[in-house]
């Protein structure tokens, strides 16, 4: 264990948020909640980047009073990276939501386990139908 565990509260918070988002993504069977988990993970990354760009006691990187000294401003690079991340996460969320809507229209559920079971059942029905024993299986 390093020495800065007691001072890096922002980084610790972002790690915990990341893990919470990942648990959400893995454990929740609901597709919308999975997307929310992914967004929580994104936010954790932004918090981490913003925390890494901060320098104690310095101003935001907007030139004020004509001071052009690097010792007066915080690091501008993580801000640009966070911007890229936000745009990509918005796009990914929108596409995932659209795919979720398509799945819901097909299966009338958002539960991934149910979707898998229904898919398997439909496949089984299809095989039954193809093998010519349609009388016993219920068509779905």
């Amino acid at each position: 264990m390093g020495s800065s565990i007691l001072t890096n509260f922002e980084e610790i918070a972002s790690v915990l948020l990341f893990v919470i988002g990942m648990i959400d993504l893995l454990v929740q069977p609901n597709l919308v909640k999975k997307i929310i988990g992914l967004d929580i993970m994104d936010s954790a990354v932004y918090l981490f980047l913003a925390a890494k760009g901060y320098i104690a006691g310095r101003a935001a990187p907007i030139v004020t009073d004509g001071i052009l000294d690097a010792a007066h401003y915080i690091n501008p690079i993580p801000a640009g990276l966070v911007l890229t991340g936000i745009v990509v996460s918005v796009s990914v969320s929108a596409v995932m939501m659209a795919l979720t809507i398509c799945l819901y229209r097909e299966y009338h559920t958002l539960n991934l386990d149910e979707i898998m079971m229904l898919l398997r059942r439909r496949e089984a029905d299809e095989t039954l139908r193809l093998s010519g024993r349609n009388g016993e299986g219920t068509p779905s």
């Binding site: 264990m1 745009v87 659209a98």
Partner: protein
């Protein structure tokens, strides 16, 4: 109450425990579908079809599959273990990072120093982040705008309701939109009358001042898009369709991206080959300074506003 107690069977706790094990369904036989009395016939038929489909699928049976429950238990345990392992790994890593706010950390290197010390002179932007993302790393931002455009195209492909192929479903979507969404609400309309102009003007201000103050194309475009979405929610598609339809959105987005591409290609070409260019940084702090940054901010703002509006329209109705 102990489990041996004769009163236990059939009690609330017993039912809860059996529900937890998946043996008891409190809704079985009691599920009632309330049909909204104001919905048109098509909607009622759709609801009935959905109810029949749910019954036929026998969703509740899925939870009784013991293999699935066993798998679920193992899966939860594995996920928990993985999460604990990852948290421990990342916490140990964080503990070795430089302290929060430390100015000697290795990421505050000569790149950041150069952006701050030379940025104003080379790009003309007072906002160093704007100068960085729209001048030094402008192709990166171009890629971001293209990612947004591609996301809009994907959502369009996935959610679009085709008018020619299926005129009924388009009309049905319109009807359900009218029955299940707020429509012509007086409070909403009054609030929108006040808020829409304010948010549009604020968005334009943030876009145009992106190189002088905090803000820029992405944040300003998001504000403009929110204003448009509020206007659409309050006044319906007939009003917004007059100026924001599919052709307008396509034209605006594609022309903004094309202008961005050509303008920045010219700037990079002349800059890299040390040719003279008519783009000058200008007087720092003026509204028309910073070379191309103002125009690129406007392009990005247009793309972002159209994207937000398009997402909302697609998710709500599946077409303009």
């Amino acid at each position: 109450m102990s489990r041996e107690d004769p009163r236990y069977a059939g009690s609330r706790w017993d039912k809860l425990a059996r529900w937890r094990r998946g043996e008891y369904d409190p809704t079985a036989g009691r599920l009632e579908l309330r049909e909204p009395d104001f919905a048109p016939r098509d909607e009622l038929q759709k609801l009935r079809k959905y109810a029949a489909q749910t019954e036929r699928d026998d969703r509740y049976e899925l939870g009784l599959d013991t293999r699935l429950r066993g798998f679920r238990r193992v899966y939860l345990a594995a996920a928990g273990l993985l999460a604990v392992f990852l948290a421990a790994l990342l916490l140990v890593t964080v503990s070795w990072l430089p302290q929060f706010g430390d100015y000697t950390a290795p990421e505050h290197n000569e790149v950041a120093r150069r952006y701050i010390e030379q940025g104003l002179e080379e790009t003309g932007a007072v906002n160093i982040v704007a100068g960085m993302i729209l001048d030094y790393r402008a192709f990166d931002t171009f890629g971001e705008s293209c990612v947004l455009f591609i996301a809009v195209c994907c959502v369009l492909m996935l959610l679009r309701v085709d008018k020619e192929e299926d005129p009924h479903s388009m009309a049905a979507e319109d009807m359900s939109d009218r029955y299940f969404e707020p429509h012509r609400e007086v409070i909403l309309q009054m609030a929108a009358r006040v808020l829409v102009p304010v948010s549009l003007v604020l968005g334009i201000y943030v876009v145009l001042n992106g190189h002088i103050s905090p803000g820029g194309g992405f944040s300003g475009g998001a504000i403009i898009g929110t204003g448009l979405v509020l206007y659409l929610t309050a006044f319906g598609f007939e009003r917004t369709g007059r100026f924001m339809n599919e052709t307008t959105v396509k034209l605006l987005t594609v022309s903004a991206l094309t202008f961005y591409c050509f303008a920045k290609s010219y700037s990079f070409y002349t800059g890299a080959n040390h040719l003279s260019s008519f783009i000058t940084p200008g007087v720092p702090g003026a509204i028309l300074s910073g070379g191309l940054i103002v125009y690129l901010n406007i392009c990005v703002g247009v793309v972002v506003a159209c994207t937000m509006y398009c997402f909302y329209v697609m998710f709500r109705k599946g077409g303009f």
